[in-house]
Symmetry: C2
Subunit: 342 residues, 2 copies
Amino acid sequence: MKPTTLSQIAELLNISISTVSKALKDYPDVSKRTKLLVKETAATLNYKPNAFAVNLRTKESKTIGIIIPEVVHHFFSSVIKGIIAQAEKKGYLVIILQSNESYKLEKKQIELLLDKHIDGILISLANETADFQHLYEVMARETPLVMFDKIAKLVNCSKVIINDRNAAYEATKHLIDTGCKRIAHFRGPLLPQNSIDRFLGYKKALTDHNIPYDSSLIYFCNNMSFEEGVQNAKKLLDDHTDVDGVFINTDLVAVGAISEFNRQNIKIPEEISVVGFSNWFMSSVISPTLTTIDQPGYLMGKNAFKLLYKEIRQRKENNIIIFKQIELPTKLIKRSSTRDII
Amino acid sequence: MKPTTLSQIAELLNISISTVSKALKDYPDVSKRTKLLVKETAATLNYKPNAFAVNLRTKESKTIGIIIPEVVHHFFSSVIKGIIAQAEKKGYLVIILQSNESYKLEKKQIELLLDKHIDGILISLANETADFQHLYEVMARETPLVMFDKIAKLVNCSKVIINDRNAAYEATKHLIDTGCKRIAHFRGPLLPQNSIDRFLGYKKALTDHNIPYDSSLIYFCNNMSFEEGVQNAKKLLDDHTDVDGVFINTDLVAVGAISEFNRQNIKIPEEISVVGFSNWFMSSVISPTLTTIDQPGYLMGKNAFKLLYKEIRQRKENNIIIFKQIELPTKLIKRSSTRDII
């Protein structure tokens, strides 16, 4: 039996050969429906891509690249550790690039990695990134790509995420369950999906429990720094005398807020209860210890590499690529910055 | 005037051409005296290396590699930030590899970087590393190399360090100055120079102040972890009832020790005073805040890149390479884990 060709699939489905080719490579400009049709037909007819072209493409460097916004960061460095542990098991070396939350730098780093012929890319997006052309370029070059934590919903590739909205809902609900009636939120910057989702989870928990949403209780943290926690805590105390709880986008900012509350002798949790997000190591050693959402960084790193490795293998073996999204569970860690449930 | 050749220098000094070539490239198997002689003669005769060979060598990738033991580490991640900030100014991209304190992995990573034709390597050695053949290989390939923090004294290249011995002396002296008479030390692993130097600084401070050195007061931390701080604090309290001060190799371990002292209701600093090393961010937010030695990580990163960049330029311009060692100042940060000076 002669091997199946692209033109046979194209003829059968009455579409162009280039559309078939693009659909098999998961190009973003082909509809989901067409991709599904083409992939099913290709699988049924036992289609195998041209071996020579594939070999050219799959010359392995046994090296992958990670692009992350920050290295001096408890969560991201835990992710890196997970990636390295899993990559080493499979004999891969890991190149780490730090985007400093800059879109321009992230783009340059993608080009660098493609240029170095690495076998795959893992990325958590910079806060600034709103255009995804550089990621489409990765996919057009058939370089395996997996996004983690800060992802772009519009880019069709494998992803490892948590459910930020549900986790933020749980954090806010914990404040409500422990008796808080007027709850502020220190949120992250406007763009990244996780900062939007955490805000939406907070808002939904309030309305589900008949607490009116008040936009004057929302404070922005653009750098997610300790100093912003201090400053926002000061502003919060100046602006409002009735706030009895605050849900904060990330632990580092929460630790800043706690230090300011301590300085002003505001009793935590009696006068103000605080919940953070991410479970940084320092949250378990400060005073009072911080109630927070545990975000499984190490596990996220391991899973991100596993998905990438799977795609590397699939491309090498000329199999059809099917993208997968893994959602990892989070957990509320109750410590001393919130009261007991009433 | 005809250009000076290697053989003219060799003839003049009555040594072989290969020795001259090795001396100019700073190979480790040529004596310091010979290197100095050759370099002086070469400079006097205005010797320039063969341009073609040099061009082959200096094809730039505008990328450098860093190898560090740990990413999830306040000090090392600050160094990385400093390197990236300085590298970006000069248009260089930075590849980060984590050795996990493993000699085997570090060696493999050096090979990878050489293989990828990066323009230079910055390295802080793994605790396990006792053989330096892989670093000599870097130098033999004429790839610029700068070591920082955890260095090998035997490898002849540019270095950025602190004076660990003096800093540890100052830390221990502060305990003595504040009235401590029986001072323990939680030290790092056996091999790395900085853990040896901190131990020696501690020991010298004791003997200079007529406090007898007692080896039963030395506790080892092989992973430099929070948990080791907890365990060693427990052991210390079990073994000795008269200890009133402890100097600890690194802040993370010190934070572990403080949490155990707090748990057992040992008053800090009244019953036991604690001094750490490195000034991790969390040391300023725990309770009590930790007296420690500030180690300028960001500045170390900036200086390490500057030295590397200088060597990249020197090699490109066919200048003779002169290695430099920068020693950065440290500073005692007095906080609440030690008493006032008496």
